[in-house]
């Protein structure tokens, strides 16, 4: 699901560190954002906005990490509100609900692993494009 490709230029040590930080930011935010999914989106968005004027390599990776947070945000929000409805309304625990939670955990875990891997690679200055998110970032983020 990940592609190591050549970036249009060789990123400097400083750029690699900043780009790697964007993934670390989302990683920390995933942990904090598990009970409240909006937190990781806000944290990544804040980091993205802070690096809007950074170099292309840094912006590119901030965008990829932000976009990947969006899908998780929707998945986790559904889990969150579904759970709330079970606690506070007539809704009951069903196979569908537990199935959804397990699917959400699998996707969160996949994202978590991918994020760690990308953070390490980016720190080394290696450009990693995720499947789907990489293309989407290419469309959004212009040099």
């Amino acid at each position: 699901m990940k592609n190591k490709t050549k970036f249009s230029y060789e990123p400097s040590e400083h750029e690699a560190e900043k780009a790697s930080n964007s993934y670390l930011m989302s990683l920390i935010a995933i942990v904090a954002g598990l009970p409240l999914p909006i937190i990781n989106l806000i944290a990544t968005l804040a980091f993205y906005l802070g690096n809007r004027k950074a170099t292309y390599f840094v912006r590119w990776h901030c965008t990829q990490s932000l976009l990947s947070q969006f899908s998780l945000f929707f998945i986790n929000s559904c889990s969150f509100w579904w759970t709330i409805s079970i606690i506070f309304t007539d809704a009951t625990i069903t196979n569908k609900y537990i199935g959804y939670l397990v699917a959400a955990v699998i996707f969160n875990l996949a994202e978590f692993i991918a994020t760690i891997y990308t953070a390490i690679q980016t720190r080394k200055g290696i450009h990693v494009e995720w499947w789907f998110y990489g293309n989407l970032t290419n469309l959004i983020c212009k040099s």
Partner: protein, 281 residues
């Protein structure tokens, strides 16, 4: 040359966009497929969620019924019990409901009331039977309460009103007898949500039609109750706990209007009259 290069760049952009859209759709499809497959797994039985709640429900049913048994007098006359039992049996058998799930209890009380307790306990007051004009009216109310049981409304209501933790602590003997008494009283004297009542009404009409019992008397019964001058009179518990009876009577009639219907008598007139006479004695 520049134009050619720009057009090539545009084509490339479109290609990437198409690829991205396909990948986006694919990733969404993968998520839903994963969910779909995982939803097929019997998680409830794996985690024993149902088992825990079934046991809790069983215990709660016993607890609440004991409360009523202590304070009220149960009808023991075999003729009365068997007659009402035959109504319940017919409704159950025609609607593929396990008969043993419904535990019917008759109580001597002037209140026009019937209510469901956890674990399929169905309590009917003698006042309700005496104020029903025919067995079809009584069958309607019984069907309505069976629908509450079958649709798991009782436990839903209890969990919403007092919470699962409290319910479980009741069953383990830590709930306090006052709270148990109050909860039992709440079940017998307060309504379900409007949406749950409507759902139970619709299900009751279905039960009646499947049992070849005319649902119209059930609607008439509701109309009759709502037409009484003083609906707050102390004997009209079922009306107080089931508001908007007129509206409900109307949608019951409306719902059953378009069904292909043939009806039979659920209890002979002779049995019905004898049942009422025996209850009056």
């Amino acid at each position: 040359m520049v134009v050619l290069w720009q057009s090539h760049k545009l084509n490339l952009q479109i290609l990437i966009m198409k690829k991205t859209i396909i990948q986006g759709l694919l990733i969404t499809a993968i998520f839903f497929a994963t969910w779909f497959v995982l939803a097929k797994v019997e998680w409830i039985s794996i985690f024993k969620v149902q088992k825990v709640s079934d046991k809790t429900e069983e215990k709660l049913g016993e607890l609440f019924w004991e409360i009523f048994l202590k304070s009220e007098r149960e009808v023991k006359n075999p003729f009365i019990v068997n007659s009402v039992d035959s109504i319940v049996t017919k409704i159950c058998s025609k609607n593929k409901i396990s008969r043993w799930l419904i535990k019917i209890h008759l109580i001597y009380k002037e209140d026009i009331n019937a209510f469901a307790l956890p674990n399929g306990h169905l309590v009917v007051y003698s006042g309700l039977i005496l104020n029903s004009e025919n067995p079809e009216e009584l069958s309607g109310i019984i069907s309505h309460e069976i629908a509450h049981i079958q649709l798991n409304h009782v436990m839903k209501k209890l969990i919403k009103e007092i919470g699962l933790t409290m319910l479980i602590s009741m069953t383990t003997g830590n709930g306090g007898s006052e709270i148990i008494k109050e909860t039992a009283k709440m079940l017998s004297s307060s309504a379900f949500d409007r949406s749950l009542e409507k759902e139970a009404d619709m299900k009751a009409v279905e039960y009646l039609i499947n049992s070849k019992v005319n649902p119209e008397p059930f609607a008439n019964f509701l109309y009759k109750l709502s037409d009484l001058e003083d609906p707050t009179t102390k004997y009209l518990s079922w009306l107080r706990t089931h508001p908007d009876s007129k509206e409900r009577a109307e949608y019951i009639i409306e719902y059953s209007r378009y069904k292909k219907l043939t009806f039979e008598s659920i209890l002979s007139k002779e049995t019905w009259d004898k049942l009422k006479n025996k209850l009056k004695d």
